[in-house]
């Protein structure tokens, strides 16, 4: 059995989740505390991947990143970046595709904390960053973990976006979900079944851990 697609899937999920975690915290913090009129628009854009067919996103990424277009050729000439049919393209597309799965749990965790916690910290003389890292984030650990697990699982499960922007290049963009499709196309059901079963079991374990975690935190009365 060729393990390459599975390894690639986990590499993609790991890198995507890590980068998403880093950018989702400031985004969620801003959304939680802002009084800006732009808030609903930003929230809408972040949530779009939940309702759009992945192929729509993939299609626009493909158009935008294509070296034949202005943005794509600018990326290429300035940074030497080609995002179509490449791993970095997959990461970027996956980040946007999984963004709501990271932002929503963190945002809901932050919004559920009483305002008095951050206010108390500010009045003690602590700045925004210290308040976020010492007071807010440690009290939403469950939400952070939910965000990480869900983004990871969702990235493993993506298909449409990856196929559109990444194609099917072995070792580079051929992730497990695509490998399954590929094997089925060539009537190789046994191989498709192996990949599918592995993904099935992993997805089950990941989601189960989220629910067990939620139950535990509820019972212990921790935030």
């Amino acid at each position: 059995m060729d393990w390459q697609p599975l390894i690639l899937t986990f590499q993609l999920a790991f890198v995507t989740t890590l980068l998403l975690f880093i950018i989702a915290i400031p985004i969620s913090h801003w959304l939680c505390f802002t009084k800006s009129k732009a808030k609903p628009f930003i929230e809408t854009i972040i949530s779009m991947p939940l309702v759009l067919p992945p192929t729509v996103l993939g299609f626009y990424f493909l158009i935008a990143f294509s070296p034949g277009n202005a943005f794509g050729s600018w990326l290429d000439s300035t940074f030497g970046l080609t995002l179509v049919f490449s791993f970095s393209g997959l990461v970027l597309a996956s980040m946007i595709y999984s963004l709501p799965f990271m932002v929503h749990p963190i945002l809901s965790g932050l919004s559920n904390l009483p305002d008095s916690l951050s206010n108390a910290s500010y009045l003690m003389g602590h700045g925004k960053w210290r308040t976020l890292s010492k007071v807010l984030l440690p009290n939403i650990r469950t939400s952070l973990l939910s965000g990480i697990i869900l983004s990871f699982a969702h990235t493993i499960g993506e298909f449409g976006v990856v196929l559109m922007i990444g194609g099917n290049i072995p070792g580079k963009t051929k992730v497990a979900s695509i490998a399954i499709y590929d094997e089925v196309e060539s009537m190789n059901y046994a191989a498709a079944n192996r990949y599918s079963l592995i993904l099935f079991v992993i997805a089950f374990i990941i989601l189960l851990s989220v629910y067990v975690l939620n139950r535990k935190t509820k019972n212990s009365g921790l935030l």
Binding site: P114, N119, L123, G125, N139
Partner: protein
């Protein structure tokens, strides 16, 4: 000295209300804010702490503008300690860590430990706030506020929902800190006896406006009484028995029955604050806990 001359539109259950304050609080003064809910008491504290911005006017503390048309001083630079109604203890930190987190980097190094001792928190120091009782949380919140070595202490109904003995002990702590640290303290309270005990001055608010200010005893006991002893309490029951009425008044946590005549009862409403006073006889003192 705190000078506040502000206007702020607030949303209240009855629609929009304008909080309109023009007050001066002296340094070292203990002020109680008293009034019905929705009168603007919490908003007054929030405006002073910087949690809310006035629509118009200025706030000036010791000659420096904390808020005017051109600037608003950040919360971090106000040196105000605020005891929130929900205590706002950080759930991820132990009692000791909560108190240390409030300490200033260049403050008194032993202060956190001294406060833990003084507030009898030794045994709780390594526990997290979720495992504490209401009274214990209050003690931690007060110790934490003091660890900040503030100039101004703001208390939002600090002692509501506590039993009488805990309440009395905490009142003593607050009074002690207020005097020893020369704080300017502003406290919201609905408890007249608490206000009489702690505050130098009471400011009555109603519907966003100040409707009276002065020595608590004078403000609450407008009728001239020369009673030998008097207690404030709340009418909880009025019962007719023959020609007389029996009025039950809750003083602290003790229901006291007082005989009254029809003319006296006509003015009383259940839930109203009253003074029970006596002057016709000499009270007898019994020692408790013989």
């Amino acid at each position: 000295m705190i000078e506040m001359n502000i206007k702020k539109n607030l949303q209240s259950p009855d629609g929009t209300m304008t909080l309109n304050l023009n007050e001066v609080f002296d340094k070292g003064e203990f002020i109680a804010l008293y009034g019905p809910s929705g009168a603007g008491k919490t908003s007054t504290l929030q405006l002073l702490a910087g949690l809310m911005k006035p629509d118009e006017g200025f706030i000036k503390v010791n000659g420096n503008y904390w808020h005017n048309d051109s600037k608003t001083l950040p919360l971090q630079e106000r040196n105000v300690a605020y005891m929130f109604q929900d205590y706002a203890l950080f759930p991820n930190m132990t009692v000791r860590e909560n108190i240390q987190f409030a300490s200033k980097p260049n403050g008194t190094p032993s202060l956190a430990n001294d406060l833990i001792k003084q507030m009898q928190l030794n045994e709780l120091a390594d526990k997290r706030p979720t495992s504490l009782s209401g009274g214990q949380k209050q003690r931690v919140a007060l110790a934490r506020a003091m660890a900040q070595e503030p100039d101004i202490l703001l208390l939002d109904e600090p002692l509501s929902a506590l039993d009488t003995s805990t309440r009395l002990a905490l009142q003593n702590h607050i009074a002690e800190f207020h005097h020893s640290l020369e704080l300017t303290t502003i406290m919201i309270s609905h408890d007249i006896s608490e206000i009489v005990k702690l505050a130098d001055r009471v400011l009555k608010l109603d519907n966003g406006n100040s409707i009276g200010s002065g020595n608590p005893v004078d403000v609450f006991m407008q009728k001239e009484l020369s009673g030998k002893f008097k207690f404030t309490g709340e009418v909880i029951n009025i019962q007719q028995q023959g020609f007389l009425y029996i009025v039950t008044v809750l003083i602290q946590n003790n229901p006291i029955k007082v005989i009254a005549q029809k003319t006296e009862v006509e003015e009383l409403v259940i839930g109203e604050k009253v003074v029970v006073a006596s002057k016709a006889f000499n009270p007898i003192i019994y020692k408790l806990n013989k």
